[in-house]
């Protein structure tokens, strides 16, 4: 059974259909890349999987570990192991990053019927992961993402991924707004999370990110559908030939 199975998904935003019957299967241990031009529905797909309000699913289904994901609240999905790394992580003034991390982790554990993390264990774990990602301690005391640079915000997303240990990570345009050095640090953090029990779905417009996070399978999206799937060489091919060839195929 695939970890994530999207079957013939149709999604509307207000009156406009964005996804027209999209299908995708992701197995544990795999890294998938979803590429495509702007407006092809990549981000919509990631939002619908995470449960963002404002999208109307008019057809199809999403199964996660065999369960109907669309029936679950966003927090339930997170507790089940779905993690969306945001393209634009929000700033939350007044909520210290450390408080946020602990509240979120314990909420997930509680939803799964697990005990709360003890404070020393939690602190130790956060410090360990933060050090690996080059995140200074004072950043953890500040409000969530408040005053963080683009690179720091993305590293904070990776930090959460490492802490929450989700089984499905969706990275929405992780490279946007990052220079090469910041991208490398974030990508190293992501690569450290590769595991046979975990799948990564990397959504990106450019091939560049895939030099750092190397996918097993590449999908090309156009106009709300997956129009082609292949190995990592497909990404390189796209870099030279562009997306135009798929506009007609869709």
């Amino acid at each position: 059974m695939p970890l994530l199975e999207v079957k013939n998904l149709q999604v509307r935003v207000e009156e406009r259909e964005i996804l027209h019957g999209l299908s995708l299967a992701v197995n544990a241990g795999e890294i998938h890349a979803i590429m495509g031009p702007n407006g092809s529905g990549k981000s919509t797909l990631s939002h619908v999987i995470a449960g963002k309000p404002g999208y109307e699913v008019t057809g199809g289904e999403i199964l996660f570990k065999g369960e109907n994901l669309l029936e679950m609240s966003p927090d339930r999905r997170a507790a089940k192991g779905v993690f969306l790394a945001f393209q634009y992580p929000v700033e939350i003034p007044g909520v210290a990053t450390m408080t946020f991390l602990r509240t979120a982790l314990n909420a997930q554990r509680k939803a799964r019927g697990e005990g709360e993390f003890s404070t020393p264990d939690f602190l130790k774990k956060v410090r360990e992961v933060a050090a690996r990602l080059n995140i200074p301690q004072d950043m953890l005391r500040r409000g969530v993402n408040v005053g963080f640079s683009g690179g720091e915000k993305k590293r904070n997303e990776v930090l959460q991924m490492a802490l929450f240990e989700p089984s499905l990570c969706i990275l929405d345009e992780m490279d946007s707004g990052l220079d090469i050095d910041a991208l490398r640090v974030a990508a190293d953090g992501v690569n450290a999370l590769r595991s046979p029990d975990r799948a990564l779905v990397v959504i990106t417009h450019y091939q560049r990110l895939l030099n750092y996070i190397v996918p097993d399978i590449v999908h090309v999206m156009s106009k709300g559908r997956v129009v082609k799937s292949g190995g990592k060489e497909l990404a390189i091919e796209l870099e030279t030939s562009g997306y135009a060839q798929f506009e007609d195929a869709a």
């Binding site: 992580p89 929000v90 939350i92 007044g94 959460q160």
Partner: protein, 441 residues
């Protein structure tokens, strides 16, 4: 049908209350004259209504419905119930002065715990002390013309006169606790707090009700004088019973180079108004006046502050936050006056309201009256719902909806609570906010 008649009745009934209460009110001679004068001042408008500009958003003729008779002296049963409430307050580390149903109650107070340099007398004793010079001045309101404050002077039955000696620095907060144990009655209290030159103190005021008490009226006034170079931190936690009416006034005069920080949180009561008149009277004074309203059901809470800069080189900061759920109604009126002499005044005011339901209402009225030309003054106001994108981010990280909302509301009010420098008092305020949030879930 007879709405108009009913409203007029409320004003008339109160004059009956004054007539019948007069014999029970402490003081003779000039004190009685002062009461009569104050009541006459009240009667010029009667209960304030929406056509009186200062009371535009808090129409007491509509909101107070009825005027309740003066509360009886607390009996043994009332004291027992008051004691139960006091034991539940998490403020053991303070010198406590307790007013039960408007009557100072030494039995429940901790006068010994007030610390060196702090003296306390009760208003009733001072007003009744016919042998000495009559202290009718304790019932004067100076230049402030306000019907509810006038009524307070007319009806005041008791209160505490607290003096912190020059240079004193009592270690623990001085805590005035108002406990209501009565049903359908009114308490009028009036207290004084003076802090001498170079002294340093913290004053906590709490308004609470005994278990099972829902409906009563409280009208309190506290007149505070802060000496030069003194430092006063003031926190006021209003947690009255759900159907109570609480109209309270604070009159503060701040001396030269003095620091005054005041914070009010209204999380209880049915209808309340907290009006603060702060006169920045000495050069180099720093004032910080902040507050939070946490409202649900059909609660109405009004915070009205008048910051009067009378002298040069002073600063004032006002941070106010309102969180309004259900059909609640929050009012913030902030008036800043900078008089012609008050050059180099630095005055800022920021108020924000968070509306948690479609029927919630927040009115905000900033007024800047600036008569000096070399000043830095500003104000800002916002109101809106919780940010959906922040909520989704938190939920996508595993926080259930109510928990995500709670975290954002805490952060929202946190900015005002953070202005409380004293750790213990700040934690008390934060705990009160948390209790409100938990009750909301």
């Amino acid at each position: 049908m007879n709405v108009v008649v009913a409203k007029a009745d409320a004003g008339r009934a109160l004059s009956d209350v004054f007539a019948s209460a007069r014999d029970r009110l402490p003081g003779l001679g000039t004190v009685v004259d002062a009461r009569k004068q104050a009541f006459a001042s009240y009667q010029q408008t009667g209960l304030p209504h929406r056509r009186i500009e200062d009371w535009k958003y808090t129409d007491l003729r509509a909101l107070m419905r009825e005027v309740l008779p003066l509360a009886a002296e607390p009996d043994a049963e009332a004291l027992r119930r008051a004691e139960l409430v006091l034991s539940s307050l998490a403020t053991s580390d303070s010198g406590r002065l307790v007013l039960v149903d408007g009557t100072f109650t030494p039995l429940l107070s901790d006068l010994a715990g007030l610390g060196d340099g702090v003296t306390v007398r009760r208003l009733r004793d001072v007003l009744d002390n016919a042998g000495n010079e009559a202290r009718a001045d304790l019932l004067h309101n100076g230049a402030i013309v306000d019907p509810m404050l006038a009524l307070n002077a007319a009806m005041a039955t008791d209160g505490v006169l607290i003096a912190v000696a020059a240079g004193a620095a009592p270690a623990r907060p001085i805590h005035i606790v108002h406990v209501a144990t009565h049903l359908s009655a009114a308490a009028y209290t009036r207290s004084y707090f003076t802090i001498g030159v170079g002294a340093r103190a913290t004053l906590l005021e709490s308004f609470v009700a005994a278990d099972g008490v829902r409906s009563y009226q409280a009208n309190d006034a506290i007149i505070t004088g802060i000496g030069d170079d003194a430092d006063l931190q003031h926190v006021r936690l209003m947690a009255d019973a759900p159907d109570a009416v609480n109209i309270s006034t604070a009159i503060v005069t701040v001396g030269a180079k003095a620091r005054f920080s005041t914070f009010n949180m209204t999380s209880g009561g049915g209808v309340s108004r907290y009006q603060g008149y702060i006169t920045v009277a000495g050069e180099g004074a720093e004032v910080s006046a902040n507050g939070v309203n946490l409202l649900k059901g059909s609660q109405h809470a009004d915070t009205t502050l008048f910051m009067d800069h009378a002298v040069p080189n002073c600063s004032s900061r006002e941070i106010f936050r309102a969180v309004v759920d259900d059909r609640g109604h929050s009012v913030f009126q902030g008036r800043i006056m900078v008089r012609p002499k008050a050059q180099k005044t630095d005055a800022k005011m920021m108020t924000r309201a968070l509306l948690l339901s479609d029927e919630a209402e927040a009115d905000n009225k900033p007024e800047l009256e600036i008569f000096a030309d070399d000043v830095t003054c500003g104000h800002g106001a916002t109101s809106g719902a919780l940010d959906e994108s922040l909520l989704f981010y938190l939920r996508a990280r595993g926080l259930p909806e109510s928990e995500a909302q709670g975290l954002l509301i805490q952060a929202f009010v946190g900015e005002a609570i953070e202005t409380i420098a004293d750790d213990g008092l700040r934690e008390l305020a934060a705990a009160a906010a948390l209790r409100w949030l938990e009750a909301r879930r």
